[in-house]
Subunit: 207 residues, 2 copies
């Protein structure tokens, strides 16, 4: 965000003299309070200055962008869900690898015969299995998959930002979006991935 | 971004009557132009309204956020580069898989004996090779790697947004950041990945 000259002057005044009221800033610039109002509004909206009633304006210390922060926090996981690729736990490793290629995903979500979510099988899991020479045609994915308590997932009404954080912290490329069934088990409803976040990033920067 | 009541009224007036001057909006609301100035500034900065000199305000049609767009377009690839993992083309597929696990990356960048960038070897390439039963201990990565003209890369001074777009369009998890050497060949200087974009996204949403 580029500040105009008057906005830069205001920031300098507040930096040196804050907290300072709008009237006193106006005095120093030989302008009326009304003239300054849009500049002060923009500086506060952008998070460069903060305002406290009956105290005045002070410098926030870092040029964070409150508008961006507010915008991103509104994004909810379910609005950005893609279709999950779900496989049964008895599928062979070979078929799982084929599914990864056919569906063009990084991760398969594994369910048991009741449809409960209980495992994740990533390209890395499959690569490890095939490298160490397992019999990939007969061995089922449930032998090599990641399982509870090491599974990471997210609920539909959580924030996209939370999903992005979780993927970074846990070093996974995607997360299953789940709901809790009546029996307390989890059901996979969707998928959110680093690619999803990439797409949001690109759409935000398109005019 | 949440609009206050007066800002919502302004948007409705401009939607129905735009292009319309600030004075005429003020008349309709029984307010002075000076009172409206901060609201109009915020609505224009946020991209909801657009203003043309001597024409007036009109509704932009979509609530895009110009502040966000401007901010994201300032990000340059070299400021977000991570260390690339570069291997020689004669490395065996087995060693390449081990390197992927040791370095915890999705993609290896492959160079020839002159240090020129000339291939990319992804987890997917390695998975395909090991699945079809190649002799992964003796076969070198240059047999299975992706090579020109199917290589995608980005230069240091390009925009991060461009990198993000390229990764989506080409369906790759990371890109080598390159410079052109005196002999016209490319040298790998860094790496940018979907994880990088994820981290920027998270940092933008942190206050």
């Amino acid at each position: 965000m580029e500040l105009n000259k008057r906005q830069q002057q205001i920031v300098e005044i507040v930096k040196s003299n804050g907290p300072i009221t709008g009237e006193r800033i106006a005095d120093r610039l030989d302008l009326t309070r009304a003239t300054l109002r849009p500049d002060l509004a923009i500086l506060t909206m952008s998070g460069i200055l903060e305002a406290r009633p009956r105290v005045g304006y002070y410098y926030s210390g870092k040029p964070k962008n409150k508008l961006i922060t507010d915008e991103l926090k509104q994004y909810i996981v379910k609005d950005y869900a893609s279709l999950p690729v779900v496989v049964k736990d008895e599928m062979s490793i070979y078929d799982a690898i084929c599914t990864i290629f056919l569906e063009n995903v990084s991760t398969l979500f594994v369910i048991n015969k009741n449809g409960d979510f209980f495992g994740v099988c990533s390209r890395k899991d499959l690569l490890r299995a095939s490298m160490i020479g397992e019999d990939i045609h007969t061995m089922p994915v449930n032998i090599i998959m990641t399982r509870m308590p090491n599974l990471h997932y997210i609920f539909e009404d959580e924030k996209v930002v939370h999903a992005a954080k979780l993927m970074i912290d846990k070093e996974v490329d995607s997360l299953p979006i789940v709901t809790t069934k009546d029996n307390g088990k989890l059901e996979v409803k969707g998928r959110i991935s680093k690619t999803t976040i990439n797409k949001i990033f690109v759409s935000l920067s398109n005019e």
